[in-house]
Symmetry: C2
Subunit: 142 residues, 2 copies
């Protein structure tokens, strides 16, 4: 049982007239092996032979192809994850401890509908995390 929603990365790259270079393949592999979203820096650390700028370039190409997407959890660097995973989830980011609470995207369906009907605005959630306080930090100061 595959959770794959679209064509695999290789096919999309080929279909766009692009090529599967070493950096590009390895970046995909790393993202596939991660359990959550990671920074470009973290990808680069796991690939000592791939330059950071190539990681960024790969991520940008893959994002245009719809293979990966990035999310801003709080401040600081963007986090990247494979799209087929990202499409089903939303991130809640604790502003105090940085914890990333993952929730199903479907929670936002009602809000989506209301905003679409009243403002004609179609939410494309997932790009920015919803900030707030997690269970552990609710009563903390600061």
């Amino acid at each position: 049982v595959e959770s794959q929603v679209g064509p695999d990365p290789g096919s999309r790259i080929k279909a766009a007239g692009l090529r599967m270079g070493a950096a590009r393949r390895q970046v995909i592999d790393v993202l596939g092996s991660m359990s959550g979203p990671v920074t470009a820096e973290e990808v680069a650390v796991r690939l000592p032979d791939v330059h950071v700028s190539s990681v960024y370039r790969s991520l940008n190409v893959l994002e245009e192809l719809g293979v990966v997407r990035h999310v801003h959890l709080t401040h600081g660097p963007a986090l990247f994850e494979l799209s087929d995973v990202a499409a089903q989830i939303r991130h809640l980011a604790c502003e105090r401890c940085g914890r990333d609470v993952v929730v199903p995207a479907s929670l936002f369906d009602d809000l989506r509908t209301v905003i679409e009907q009243e403002y004609g605005f179609v939410i494309d959630g997932g790009h920015f995390a919803i900030p707030g306080r997690c269970t552990d930090c609710i009563d903390c100061a600061g």
Copy 2:
């Protein structure tokens, strides 16, 4: 009829043992005169005698005091606005044309409740805009 929700900026600054310098006062004045959120750069442009770094420092202090807050609309610089205005609204940011659609914060009340009950996570919306497509850009490519 005042819409002021808390003590005025001057009182808060004094209460924190801080002082009302020239930069700080002018930054508050500029924010009060704007109809929407603005970048630090835009504030600095309106204050030729105040250095950009002082604008940033003022904004940071005022944010810690709860006088202003900042929001990330899409990519690029953060946007700052007075808290008493910001508390009542949320920003929807069109990822294509950059348009800032302002909606009442109360739209998010139901979602807030659900997420708080099911995940113990208290949403502090407003820090990041909700991305998507505005009426004009819904059917556009790219």
